[in-house]
Symmetry: D2
Subunit: 215 residues, 4 copies
């Protein structure tokens, strides 16, 4: 017996929305490969009916270390958090440093840690029914590990991870080429970005139609 | 615009099914903590309308190392694979050794590696619309890491990971108590097992109603 | 044929020194479990002839995200870096958040990334002959993974890791007790701390006597 | 005060020896990239006075899953273990599958798990004074993570990890080229292999001259 009957999702349903949290170490106006790939995911989501979408370059904001919703004293996480909570799809974009996600990425994950305890009126985590995917770039090596870290942490706090939920590019071992400096998007990365977006949009729509039941 | 309109899921839809792949290092008849926790997830799934469910103790079968569907010469993976492909929900249960998933767990993940290339008539991976969760036990430390490894690998090959998709138990640092030797299931693990099952059953049902679109 | 003959290390050799980089998310004056455990390692090092030793609470300093030696504009990493380069032994202390090392820990690792390219007159990385150990604490789960991340990154930039180079404490699964709130240091953690210090002091002394050869 | 005065290491000291544990999934006579890279490390060790050296293709032997020294009933680990215990340097060679070390690699690590409890007459772990390095190859991505897993596990059981203790090669993201099919060894991998061997031989010699003190 199903827990519930899905509502029909029609063209009159509110649009799905997405947000990109880009975790480059470099503030504006530096070019950023993780912003480039994150934006490519966002563009691909648009082809599946996802509307709008903000790209937030976290390091441009005064986000504090911590695990609370608001560390006070000018902490700019609360403003970002509001946008994260408003979006159906989170595109978590990070560069790879030392084979691992960036420190900014970890800082963002930690700021989301408290969400597991934040519940709606039905007792469900606020992030229920939201979908997260990863966009990962580096000169070389570390994409699988980075996606593992991101999936585990975001899943802990309530995100659902769609099938094949990561797109990435890295160069050959010990290389130094940046994704943003490639002549064109490599075909396999482009295909994967398309798959990730197709799956994320679909899954967000499915969870909109059939939200997780309350405990 | 949605990719598709969900079918109504009714009591007459075919039942959801689950399979537990238990990756203990010890063959029968040894007691196994990972089988115990995997079975608890299965029992909890039954409360959400999931039917049947086999617990496969992988090490009791002659499964070969490799990354193909069939390594030949008596390899018993093909028989297990058939059951995995038939189940809507995979409960991936592993002990922790050295802070990491067991070698048997890694062997099983590698046997699934080829699934990314195996597609249905519509060009979708065979594992599309299937849901995976993890059940992890150890004397001490390693559950988060183990779930990260499992999520990343199973997601790569096509599984969707529901919100809070892992239940686990580990003791205090450098402890030596087994999960199966506890007087009772710790309350937090029991609650988490219930959450994992509720989410997995729901998500599998949602993907049954609204399968991922073809490329 | 040995690359070199070790000098005799005598009581007149300059003393070995250590530094603790403590990567708690909380600035002073909050109590910190990672500072407590890091300090215990330092105390244990003193019993093996290591002198002095500073505990640096990184988050009290204005350290910037980045992978260079000096991010400019008031970046306080260069002052810390000088102390790191002066110490024979690095005690890398981090709390666990979400089963992973803290964002501050990752920020520090990234600031050390450039050291691989910084060489002495003989063409050896500046961190050659230095020894790193880890001190890791959390409410629950994540110590092995955290040590793996720290070992890999510090080894990449030139640190040598002594046998059994990590001490840690974590509580039972999903627990919420802090190390600093335990009535006493658990015996196994205390023993491990002693082992780590014995090994680190010995290895630093051995590398002092027999430095790595130049390329 | 030093714990001990190093003996002079002379040309009359017994030679250092090494062993390669190659963790390819494929039995002989298949070509193996991990055997190729592991052998290259061994060759480089020879240039630093290390003698002999066996390359063991683990999957050619009937090694059982488990965490004891001898799983009985024809288990071939004890014979391999004897060689591991006799060698000063362990070259741990593994392919990458799914961004992670192979299942065979994990099986081998688990077979070493018990070594932490096996002590010599002085109460030191049998693996004390031994040095481990990693040689990692894959079509794409996963080398840093694999070295992290290997370092953490081997360090737990008593191995010391020399500075920059891993050599590796992986291709560009989602590539399918094997290391063994490259026209020549890429220069950066060759340089890294040389560094790893130089450091490993030196550190093993230093620990021969100055063994870790007993507890």
């Amino acid at each position: 017996m199903p827990d519930q009957t899905p509502d029909t999702v029609t063209a009159t349903s509110p649009d799905l929305t997405a947000i990109v949290l880009a975790c480059t170490l470099s503030p504006s106006p530096s070019d950023s490969s993780s912003i480039k790939l994150g934006t490519e995911v966002l563009d691909a989501l648009h082809e599946h009916g996802v509307q709008g979408g903000t790209v937030i370059r976290v390091v441009d904001h005064d986000v504090r270390f911590g695990v609370s919703d608001d560390e006070g004293d000018g902490d700019e996480w609360p403003g970002i958090r509001e946008q994260v909570l408003a979006a159906d799809i989170l595109v978590f974009a990070t560069p790879i440093w030392m084979g691992q996600p960036s420190a900014v990425a970890k800082m963002v994950l930690e700021r989301l840690d408290n969400e597991i305890a934040e519940t709606d009126d039905a007792g469900r985590p606020l992030l229920s029914d939201k979908v997260a995917v990863a966009a990962i770039v580096g000169n070389e090596d570390g994409a699988h590990h980075s996606s593992a870290m991101i999936f585990q942490a975001l899943n802990d706090v309530g995100y659902t991870i769609p099938a094949q939920g990561v797109t990435y590019w890295v160069g050959e071992a010990m290389g130094s080429t940046d994704y943003q400096d490639l002549d064109e998007v490599p075909e396999k990365t482009a295909q994967t970005t398309a798959t990730v977006a197709r799956h994320a949009a679909h899954l967000a729509r499915a969870l909109r139609a059939m939200p997780y039941p309350a405990p």
